[in-house]
């Protein structure tokens, strides 16, 4: 899929662990892992909003389009 998830990069920049983020935004670690690994087929606006709020970033920092 040409949509790349840069969540791990943002987590490293903010020095936050996956477990902590999952607790903050209220999703399971397995779902966060699906999102990080790029296996997710869709992301809800509410989840994206929660991630952006927790990591103090913009959606473009997490999602990237790369023409393959």
């Amino acid at each position: 899929m040409p949509i790349i998830i840069n969540l791990d990069v943002m987590l490293a920049k903010r020095k936050i662990r996956s477990k902590e983020l999952s607790e903050r935004i209220g999703i399971t670690t397995s779902n966060l892992s699906i999102l990080k690994s790029g296996k997710a087929k869709a992301i809800r606006f509410s989840t994206l909003e929660a991630i952006c709020k927790a990591l103090e970033c913009q959606p473009k920092d997490i999602l990237e389009y790369r023409d393959s």
Partner: protein
């Protein structure tokens, strides 16, 4: 409560399909044995000929083939019922088995129609024109309907499976 009720239905369905399969396989084997040992006389041979006519041979061969195709359809239905028992409604196996079973039932129905037409031609050749309206007329029709329904159901399950996967992978 819902799961318990569905489990009971699946179990009943599996049992009924099992009985149907066992009875049909048993009956088919018994028929083959009795015919090959000459224990029964077949009504198809009329007119006192010692040898079978080409039409009678064709009808017999297609009948045996129809029976085998039907049995294969029931076999795959049985396989599908086994997967139903473990609540894998959207598994690849159920979709595949349902499609194969449906195709076989449809084919068996078409072959049944061919047998009826051949029988009708045979009677016409004897100078007898008859149209019998009975339950036998409904059997191929019902088989074809069930076969097509299973095929449609299999496609619907495939669409549902894709939706389910997409829903599960939505974060």
């Amino acid at each position: 409560m819902q799961i318990n009720s569905s489990m009971k239905k699946s179990f009943l369905f599996k049992s009924l399909v099992d009985y149907l399969y066992i009875l049909n396989v048993g009956g088919f084997l018994l028929l083959l044995t009795t015919i090959s040992f000459g224990f029964v006389e077949i009504n198809v041979i009329k007119g006192g000929d010692e040898h079978w006519s080409l039409l009678a041979i064709s009808i017999s061969c297609i009948s045996v083939l129809t029976c085998i195709v039907f049995l294969r359809g029931v076999y795959y239905l049985r396989k599908m019922a086994r997967h139903l028992l473990i609540h894998k409604y959207f598994s690849k196996q159920i979709i595949k088995c349902l499609k194969i079973s449906g195709t076989h039932f449809l084919l068996a129905g078409v072959m049944f129609v061919v047998i009826m037409i051949l029988g009708w031609i045979g009677k016409l050749r004897e100078g007898l024109f008859e149209f019998v309206y009975d339950i036998n007329l409904m059997v191929p029709l019902f088989l074809m309907i069930i076969g097509l329904f299973f095929m449609i159901q299999s496609e619907a399950l495939l669409v549902a499976k894709n939706f389910k996967e997409e829903n599960e992978l939505t974060v």
